[in-house]
């Protein structure tokens, strides 16, 4: 049953990702990207990570893509004008990165890194405590520093957003 669901989600994710790249209208691309996020959320769900799954939807599909759509509408983007694929240098660099990724993927599957040993929290334990409880318990004790660092990152983000959109603000000094 899990395997069937996995393949449904995986195929949806891949197909919609490809469609997202190939569609010329940016709004359609955005919609396919949302579909990809949903498939990924479904996979997180299969991995017993309900919290990550739902946060994936809230943050990526619900917030970041709304921002993208806004930007498309604000800039009045319609048909994407395709530039001819870049200079040979760019093509070469892109191919090399793609190749490295492919080799990595191959090794992960071949060497079997995915057939994992579970860490301190195997699925049964997570199910018993609840995935949110596990994340909360770890984040606010063992991983406190990254959590507080995240708040600084968000602060930088707020300041950056305001500086970028600054031009027309009235109370400007």
């Amino acid at each position: 049953m899990v395997t069937i669901f996995f393949f449904i989600f995986a195929v949806t994710a891949l197909v919609s990702a490809v469609l997202m790249i190939t569609y010329k209208n940016p709004v359609y691309s955005a919609l396919f990207l949302i579909l990809t996020f949903f498939s990924l959320a479904g996979m997180y769900f299969l991995l017993e990570a309900q919290f990550i799954a739902i946060v994936q939807i809230i943050v990526y599909a619900g917030a970041i893509m709304v921002l993208f759509l806004f930007v498309m509408m604000l800039l009045n983007l319609r048909q994407e004008t395709r530039l001819p694929i870049g200079r040979p240098f760019q093509v070469a660099l892109g191919s090399i990165f793609a190749l490295i990724l492919l080799i990595q993927l191959f090794f992960i599957v071949k060497v079997g890194l995915t057939v994992s040993k579970f860490g301190a929290f195997p699925p049964e334990k997570i199910n018993k405590i609840g995935s949110v409880q596990v994340i909360g318990g770890e984040l606010f004790t063992n991983y406190l520093f990254p959590f507080e660092a995240a708040s600084i990152l968000l602060l930088v983000g707020i300041i950056g957003a305001i500086i970028l959109g600054r031009k027309k603000l009235p109370n400007e000094m």
Partner: protein
Amino acid sequence: MEQAGYAFVDILIVLAKVIVVIGINLLMVMILTLGERRIAGFIQDRYGPNRVGPQGMLQPVADGVKFFFKEEVIPSKAEKVIYVLAPALVLGPALLTFAVIPFGGPLSVVGKEIQLQIAELNVGILYIFALLSLSVYGLVLGGWASNSKYPLMGGLRSAAQMVSYEISMGLAVIGIIMITGSLRLSDVVMHQNELLFGFLPHWNIFLQPLGFIIFIVAAYAETNRVPFDLPEAEPELVGGYHTEYSSMKFASFMMGEYIALITSSALMTTLYFGGWDFPYVDESSLGIWGVLLSIIAFAVKTGFFLFLYLWVRWTLPRFRYDQLMGLGWKVMIPLALFNIIITGVVMSLL
């Protein structure tokens, strides 16, 4: 592969619950469309629709039939696919939201315990917020795909409004999660199923009054209701994001909006007013009658909040857009943060 323990009977039970819940939701939508106009009539000292059937009871049916047989106008400049998809994107998520709300106490039939709730997720509250954050798309895409000025402006406005109030809504329920220690809505209800100081029902409204005020204001803004119905402000925007829509596609927007009303009323009941809890009664000791009592308690409370929605609509004037955004960002968010801090301090002192 391990089976999830899903027997055929379980699937049937799930299907039955789904059909009952969706059926009741759709029925309530019909009642609300009539109720809204009848209550408007009552408040404005006139009749409202009272010709089709006794007391106008069949008016929603007549409206529904009419909507199906109306001409389907797709503007020539519209982006066809997205134009058709947009109403579906409003109605679809709206239909899904009710899944995690428990609408009655656990029912036992021939030794099998059935939860009166479609899906018992351990991230229940977040599931609702996830779907809520998706309902923006229908409005914004509907406005954009129409390729017309008023809808586009209305769609953008409503999107900006919804995202602004989503933050305060999310922050408002944090207080409840702190008290409950769980995101499951059934846990939230069970936690309210006792007595506070021995005489008050242990409802969260008594523990989180400020949280509730923030929540209800945000809910009114999220559902685009008066006094926050800016997206459809007729004097400025004609009809808002659905100006170019006709036939059942227009009705889908309306249905989505009414279902959102039902869900948010049910959510207010569940989060702050004890859910299906009937105060001073131990439902589990009454067997089947206890279950019935819990369903009635839930329906009455939800009905009250639905009535409140209609009452407010015909009582309050509309905000101006800058006031609306100012309220959302400058009042609601600080208040919601304040509520969390107060809750935290009080809990650590107790």
